[in-house]
Each structure stands twice: as C-alpha cells, then as structure tokens.
Symmetry: C2
Subunit: 347 residues, 2 copies
C-alpha cells in the first residue's frame, strides 16, 4: 500500500520549488515535444525525449531496478552501481559486487543508455533487456541466479499482482523481469541540457568559453566518435589510435566478443551526456577528472597536446551537456511474504 503522505507532499513541493528556482516549470506537454534543432549542420544533435509505451511497465521496472532482493545478499540493486542520484553511475573506478568483489571495469552510466549501439563496454549484450540479466547472475556483481531471483519475486504478493497487471499473467519469469527493467531504463533520457538549448538556436544558452570549447572539440576531431544525440555510444573504437593506452586493466574490449584481433582494445565509445557527473573516466576508470580525460584523449586518439587553456575550454563545453536528471518518487517496494527466502549475506 503506497499513499502520498504529508512528508511526501512537502518533499514534492520542496523539490518543485528547488527546481523552479533553477528553471521555470514546464508542462509535460511542453517537455514532451523535442525542441527542434535550428543549427542542423552540427555533428551533435538535440536529444529526443523518451517514448513511454507502457507507463505501468516502467513503474514495475523502476521497483525492480531499486530492489536489492534481486541479489544473493539482498543488499545490491541495479541502482547500487548505476545510482540515479549520481548520474546513473557509482563514481568508483570499478564497482563493488557480492561480498565486496572488485569489479573488472568502470560501470557505465545508465542515463541515455537506450541509445547505445549495444550494452557493456565490449557490446556483448545487444540491448538493455539482455544487459539487465547479466549482473543479477554474475557471481562478482549481484551473485544470484535467475531461477532464485524469479522464485523470490514470485513469493512476493505485491509483485505477483503487478506482473499480472502489466503482463496479463502472474507467472513471473526472467524475460518479464528484464523486459520491465529495460522499459524503465529506456525512459532515462536527460533532456534540455544548456547545449541542447544552444543547438535549438538560443545563443545565450552557453558562454563564449563554452562555445569556443565546442569549436575546439569539433576542429580537433573529437566529433569523429563523440557525435549524434548522445555524443557517443553509437560505435566501437580503438582505445589508443595514435599512441597505445597504458593500463593495468586486462579488458581486451570487443575482441572478447568477436574473437577478431582487429577488435583488440576496441571499446564502445562512451556517451558524453552528463559526463560532468560520471567520473572517473575510461573503461578502467583511470582518469579522475574531465581535464585528465581530455588530455589523454587528445594525446592517444588525436595526437594532440591541448594547452591548459584549450583543455579548460573543452571541459567547460563538456559541462554544458549535463541535462535534466531523472526525477521521480522513490519507489516503495512490496514486502516479502512468510514464504519468501531470507537473505544471509555472510555464508
């Protein structure tokens, strides 16, 4: 049973106030329209709003995304490593998994991830639905099994009712679970960044320095890979084009999926949307600041040594890509029943 409480009302009002103090509140209709791109010849495109086909499935997926009962410990949820309070990432070099396992690679942001050509740094999952099943059963991440996770959900009356309402059957399976999680993740599009407003024709949306940073970003060749709506996510590229990238991280990139030598150290180009929030950077999380990331990318991908002034301008531009963060009510999860397994994280 979820009801809106007074605290809720207050919180909503407070949040709304906080928001409107930053930006005039928009009606859903207004926001729903993608702003149209006046500067049509730019390699960067205004990000399109999320299409929400089934709001009830999105709400179910949101609960599952926040539910640590999908992990063996009962402690780790999707949101633990793709934290929607922190740019859809965990801001750690590599993530913490079951029993404090050290993750092999930096957790990419879930924000705008529905636009990616594929999921994971090596693209081994074709879409969000396929990705969502991975961490649940990965011994070093959520450490559970699909069978146990589904059986546990099936023991929770509130979930059984909600799956029935969304899928027309109370028989839960991993396909429905990952479909609902993906439907929620698909909605995590961050619109109306200052740079989108500039693309829409508002000359005052970004500063002179930010604009100069964008011009440098283009003239230096960054847009060869970081282009389109997400400024990335739409191709695999070699890490270390001009000079090899030095890292202790053993990830081999795309080669692990295709088996082709040519794909060695090819990684999915990360989106630059909200990059101000998704530190540290690169698949190994080795770059702690945007300045470091810009410096390394210039050297190893473009053979360019940016001056401190150039670096600062590009960083200033990159910060104009921070969009509206997903804003929704904290989901309240249906309680387990007497039949539900109890988690013991310590054995």
């Amino acid at each position: 049973m979820t009801k809106i409480s007074f605290v809720a009302a207050l919180a909503i009002m407070a949040t709304a106030t906080a928001c409107s103090s930053k930006t005039p509140p928009k009606t859903p209709e207004k926001i729903q329209q993608a702003i149209t791109q006046k500067r049509g010849d730019e390699p960067v495109k205004i990000i399109k709003p999320a299409k929400v086909a089934d709001p009830a499935m999105v709400e179910l997926g949101k609960k599952l995304y926040f539910d640590p009962r999908l992990s063996k410990s009962g402690f780790i949820s999707c949101n633990s490593c793709h934290n929607l309070s922190m740019g859809g990432s965990d801001n750690l070099k590599t993530s913490i998994g079951h029993k404090w396992s050290q993750g092999p690679i930096n957790a990419p942001t879930v924000l705008n991830s529905g636009m990616n050509i594929a999921q994971f740094w090596d693209g081994r999952a074709k879409d969000l639905k396929e990705q969502a099943g991975g961490p649940i059963a990965n011994p070093g991440e959520m450490g559970y099994t699909h069978e146990l996770a589904v059986a546990e959900l099936q023991s929770i009356p509130g979930y059984v009712d909600e799956f029935k309402a969304v899928f027309g059957t109370d028989k839960i399976d991993i396909d429905k679970v990952t479909k609902a999680i993906a439907a929620f993740e698909q909605t995590l599009v961050t619109q109306n960044a200052p740079f989108d407003d500039w693309l829409a024709g508002d000359d005052n949306a970004i500063t002179k320095e930010e604009l100069e940073g964008y011009e440098l970003f283009k003239s230096s060749g960054c847009t060869a890979c970081h282009n389109g709506e997400a400024l990335g996510g739409n191709s695999f590229q070699k890490m270390g084009v001009v000079e090899p990238y030095k890292t202790t991280n053993p990830a081999e990139g795309r080669e692990a999926v295709t088996g082709k030598d040519a794909d060695r150290f090819n990684f999915k180009v990360p989106t630059l949307r909200n990059v101000e929030l998704t530190y540290p950077y690169f698949h190994d999380g080795a770059a702690q600041t945007l300045g470091q990331a810009v410096d390394v990318m210039g050297k190893i991908q473009l053979g360019k040594a940016f001056s401190p002034e150039e670096n600062a301008k590009i960083v200033a531009f990159l910060k104009t890509l921070t969009g509206e963060q997903p804003a929704f009510m904290l989901p309240i999860l249906p309680p387990s029943s007497d039949k539900s397994p109890r988690h013991n994280p310590f054995n």
Copy 2:
C-alpha cells in the same frame, strides 16, 4: 542543476495515479491536521504528523542521507541499511558494513524513530542527531571519519552552497551534517494506517479479525510495552521476562550503557508501526516472520502460548499498523569537484 524532466513528470503522474487509486488524494493542509482520536481510552494513539520547521534543512538532510560519499568506500549511505524503499530497514538479520563487515545487531527502522526515547537498541545515543554521527565513523559500518567526511563535503560546491543557504555559513562541520540528517529523519512519520482510521472512529477501517487481534493484543498484555503513538520506542524492557531469551547474539543491551547489572538484556522496545515491512525481528533478527515474533514474545515476555488462531489474529492486527510510506523525489546529489578525494574501496 536539477530540473523536472518529462520522465519525471510522467513518473510523478504515474505515482500519483497509483496512489490515488488506493486512496483519494489529500491536500497537504488536510494531511497536516492529525486526525482526532475518537477512541480516546485506547493505549494506542493516533500518530501525529511530522513538524517540519525548516524544509530547506530537510532537503539538505535528505541528500546527505542518500549520499554514499559519507562512507570510506563511497558505496554505503544511511539509506543502504535504513532503506526507505523497504520500511526504513534493510530486511537483513544484521547489516552489511564496510568491506562486507557483518553488523552486530539488527538495523532498526528509521521510520517514526524521532519518537524514540533514545536511539540504538541500547539507547546509547540520546537523539537522531547524535545517532547520525555513529555509523559514518564506525569501522564496521560506513568506515569513514567525521573529519574526512566533512572535508569531502566541503570540496563539493553544490553542498557548500546548500549549507550556506541553510546554516548561513559555508563552513561545514559534523554538527551541521548530523543536524540536517536528523531534520530529514524527523519527517519520516508514517501517518494514516488503517488502525489510525479505526482509532479515529471509522469502524470499517479494520476487519473483525483484525479487531479481535487488537483485543487479544491488549488483553494479553502486549500494550504494557507496545503503546502510545509508535506502539513502542518509549521504554527499555528486559528481553526474556518470564523465560530467558536464547540467542547467540552477544549484545548485552542497556547494561553496556549504564554498567548496571539490572540493565542486562534490557533493550529499547521497538516500534510496531510498519512492522509488516521491517522483518526480520528482535535485536538479533532471529524471528523471520511476524508469526514467529508473536509466538516468542508471548512465551518469553508474557508466559502465554498463543493458539495458531490467536497468533493469526494478532498478526492480522499488526498489519493494520502499516502507514503511508515516505514519498518524495529521489534526491539528485551535487557532483564532486576536481578537488574532491576519489574513493578506493579496495585498499
């Protein structure tokens, strides 16, 4: 920068719909008034709404409550073990702390905790503000130090601005941090449970079985300790009055604070508000279901062996104590700066 996005708008609408389908939406004013108790002679009282003196401080405290940067790992927040999606608890026997440390005792719910006579099972913290500092610096919980946590917050421009707005100074200290967290926690009052509606005079708010359960609860003596607005939290009582409580948990209760033999195994009586959501039960988390908890309490506190029918009725009554869960927008945390320390959970 937080703005309300289309997804946000959708989410709010969806939630609002979900809520209003359960209960007619109330205006803040209506909710703000505590419903008045018609059945005035009952030992259980209608829970009073939270008094919110400083909404801006509550909003700051909410961010801090959800911020894992208050932990050494950068992974554990207050909400990790007092999860507001799960009745303000972690639903684990004992909690998981820094580097997967096993907690010594069951994490009590934060819901309605502002009404407690003191904080922690042994009451060693006099109030929420004093409690909030504990886990941050506890090596087995968040594992950080107050100095490092404060220095990190001081390196985050968004927090510096918000502390300045709330406290009139941009000099952050642990006193302000814990004051803000406590101000947020103070708002976590769960109103309008079905049983409150019954106390207000609505005969149809609870079923015949639930009412019989309440009558049994009273006549059996449960209300000797579980009374008032929170049905507990207002006294320390011995665990094992009629027969000793058998547990492998070494906690000695109140004696650890007072040093008095008489306080051995005295624990703060837990609230029964939202008890349906806060399994497992007792300071050692040994009772996995409400049925087990009622059975054990009957035997060791009251010398009563409840029949299965009696047990079921009391459990049915206890489930009428689930109130409106806190409902607010997921907080968006201000990003770290280049000066902020980066967390390394693995060394």
